[in-house]
């Protein structure tokens, strides 16, 4: 099977989804109104509510939701063969993610741009809102712990990426100053930043930095994890313009360049996919595909995290209601394209099936490493770039994404602690420094509590991250569905994805529950039970809210 065929089929499917299905959803289901006065105009304040050009808003939305997950998830999930991952990414983007992201923006815009958490309280009930807060906290906790492990793993396996990854932070700090102090104009700074970043990628392979196998009793991997949390804590306390803003910007530029290079390499090289279509010979210990595929690939198919961005900042900047289709649905298509690139790199970027199998020796063994090695193979053979440089390029791409998500994740987690400090009247908890310490502390507890001295607790809970994240998506879909029922519109287009997600999530949680119990892993067992209770409560809330709403509607109808 040629990778180009898969690429073309995938892109055509997503394009069809955007031009046909999203148009139908926009006109018939959400019924977008170009004359509706959006909150960006109604509450325009130049701070949070700012009507924004749709292309710019798409950039904002896409770079906010694109983290490491559309790369990590698909690169792990191809262990079941390329076809299931491909189908879930393409159909998940078209029928699940697009409708979810786009719907979250619409629901928020129609409700004074409230966040999906606040909307859950208003539309579904206060109980659902409490579940929502806990689910968000768990998702953030897992994101931070998982991404620390992912980056630490990259640092250990690709020592040539250490200089560019940490150098990128220095580049961001410098360009931030150049822009903020108006020393140079933005286009000039962008060019300088990108050139500096790629120069570092060029230098990387000649100055590899290898962490010693053991430092003060900790393994090299664990030391990287500790350093990363230290960095993220400092980064999350700095003003946004110092590091986060320039870092995200340069990352966004890098993402587009990386995608062009990767897709270009595929088109020029036309590699064959060496991985099996459906892998019947999975390594021992690989969980069953049926529920796990749908929670392993979250971003790239459907991800609850997107609902937070859609209703948090994007909806406050929407210029016209009809722009929601482009920003939300096309944002999901962007993620799908990234996931498609990850699938192709992790299945077509190997010389033979034996090479591929050598990488996928256990569940979770492939992941980012497969993406980096496979992608580097294709770029080397397709574009003629040295393999070490290509590997560094892709490692930097993955690590920078995970890094910025960690910065933001830790910042958001700090906000949650500060909010809890406010609710429970704990003045010390409202201050930034103690709240940050609590956020970092809880992440470290997860990383080292579940993963032992190696600090890899984040990776062990990766499938749990998927379920928690999908639960969040379920809650958002629930809000949208209840709204649609109240408006007497067809609800199946959101109710079917919602039911599918809940069934898969609960099934995955039950399977994992048994595994954790058999392994005697009580920490994960506890977390699993917490998420399971939340999932069942969401399902019950869903049934109750729909029943209540339908009853109300029937009463009004009489």
């Amino acid at each position: 099977m040629s990778a180009i065929v898969l690429l073309v089929l995938g892109l055509a499917g997503m394009a069809g989804g955007y031009f046909v299905y999203s148009k139908f959803i926009a006109e018939k289901i959400y019924r977008l109104d170009p004359d509706f006065k959006t909150p960006a105009h109604e509450f325009e304040d130049g701070v949070d509510y700012v009507p924004t050009n749709r292309f710019i808003l798409w950039g904002h939305h896409f770079t906010s939701v694109a983290g490491a997950a559309p790369i990590v998830g698909p690169a792990i999930a191809v262990i079941w063969g390329w076809l299931p991952a491909f189908l879930w990414v393409v159909f998940g983007t078209i029928f699940f993610a697009g409708v979810h992201d786009f719907g979250a923006i619409w629901a928020s815009v129609r409700n004074k741009a409230k966040s999906v958490g606040a909307l859950t309280g208003d539309v579904v009930g206060t109980r659902a809102r409490s579940i929502f807060m806990i689910v968000i906290f768990l998702v953030l906790l897992m994101v931070n712990a998982v991404f620390a492990v992912v980056i630490a793993g990259l640092m250990m396996n690709f020592s040539s990426a250490v200089v560019p990854v940490w150098g990128a932070i220095l580049v961001a700090l410098i360009i931030g100053q150049l822009i903020y102090r108006r020393i140079l104009s933005l286009p000039v700074v962008s060019v300088i930043g990108v050139v500096a970043l790629y120069a570092l990628i060029g230098i990387g392979p000649s100055v590899p930095i290898q962490m010693p196998a053991e430092v003060a009793g900790f393994s090299g991997n664990a030391v990287w994890i500790l350093i990363l949390f230290g960095y993220a804590a400092i980064a999350s306390l700095l003003p946004v313009w110092v590091l986060l803003q320039p870092r995200d910007y340069i990352n966004g530029l890098q993402l587009f360049i990386g995608l062009i290079i990767l897709y270009g390499a595929i088109v020029l090289l036309n590699p064959s996919i060496v991985a099996p279509m459906v892998n019947s010979d999975v390594p021992a210990g690989t969980p069953s595909m049926l529920p796990l595929l749908f929670v392993t690939i979250a971003c790239g198919a459907i991800s609850g995290f997107h609902g937070l961005v859609s209703s948090g900042t994007t909806s406050k900047q929407l210029n016209k209601e009809t722009d929601a289709r482009f920003v939300g649905y096309f944002g999901a298509v962007g993620e799908g394209m990234l996931a498609l690139a990850a699938i192709l790199a992790a299945t077509a970027g190997f010389a033979s099936l034996a090479d591929w199998q050598a990488m996928y020796t256990a569940f979770g063994a492939g992941g980012v490493n497969a993406f980096v090695e496979g992608g580097a193979f294709m770029i080397h053979n397709g574009l003629g770039l040295p393999e070490a440089t290509a590997a560094t390029l892709l490692t930097v791409m993955a690590a920078l994404f995970a890094g910025t998500t960690m910065d933001t994740g830790l910042r958001l987690q700090r906000y949650i602690f500060q909010e809890w400090g406010d609710i429970y009247n704990q003045p010390w908890m409202k201050k930034s420094a103690p709240a940050t310490l609590l956020a970092v502390g809880s992440c470290l507890l997860l990383a080292f509590g579940a993963g032992g001295a190696d600090g890899t607790g984040g990776m062990i809970i990766w499938p749990l991250f998927g379920t928690t994240n999908q639960l969040l998506a379920g809650l958002t879909l629930l809000v949208i569905t209840v709204m649609l029922v109240r408006l007497r519109r067809p609800m199946w287009y959101t109710l079917v994805p919602l039911c599918f997600l809940l069934v898969m999530t609960i099934a995955a949680l039950l399977i994992q529950l048994r595994t954790f119990f058999n392994d005697g892993n009580y920490f994960l067992l506890f977390l699993d039970i917490v998420v399971l209770i939340a999932a069942i409560m969401v399902a019950m809330e869903c049934a109750a809210a729909l029943k209540r709403t339908r009853a109300e509607m029937a009463e009004q109808g009489d």
């Binding site: 130049g46 701070v47 949070d48 700012v50 924004t52 050009n53 292309f55 710019i56 808003l57 950039g59 904002h60 770079t63 906010s64 822009i179 104009s185 933005l186 286009p187 962008s190 003003p239 946004v240 313009w241 986060l244 803003q245 320039p246 995200d248 910007y249 966004g252 900042t313 406050k316 900047q317």
Partner: protein
């Protein structure tokens, strides 16, 4: 026609310039849109503090910030010195705030 061409009204060049300025606008917006809120809020906080200082001075209200501004003295000293020399005063005009 010829003159127009020479004086920089080449329509192609104009188009490129317009395109570049559009690209620059987009780049700047993409750079700032994600953090526009946070930065605008920080700027507004600064403005609020400034307003508090100016109004309390104008209205003769004892300024609660005055006590804390004492801490700023080492930071402001150099700028204060630059200011009074620029204003044509060789020495600090304030008896209680001497910098040189």
């Amino acid at each position: 026609m010829h003159d127009d061409h020479d004086s920089g009204h080449d329509p192609r060049r104009e188009r490129v310039r317009a395109w570049l300025s559009q690209a620059r606008f987009f780049a700047e917006e993409v750079y700032s849109s994600r953090y526009r809120g946070a930065i605008a809020r920080a700027r507004r906080d600064e403005d609020d503090l400034f307003m508090l200082l100016v109004f309390s001075e104008m209205m003769g209200v004892p300024n609660p910030a005055a006590y804390y501004t004492l801490e700023l003295q080492p930071l402001l000293l150099e700028r204060f010195h630059d200011w009074h020399t620029r204003m044509g005063m060789e020495r600090s005009p304030l008896d209680h705030f001497r910098c040189c």
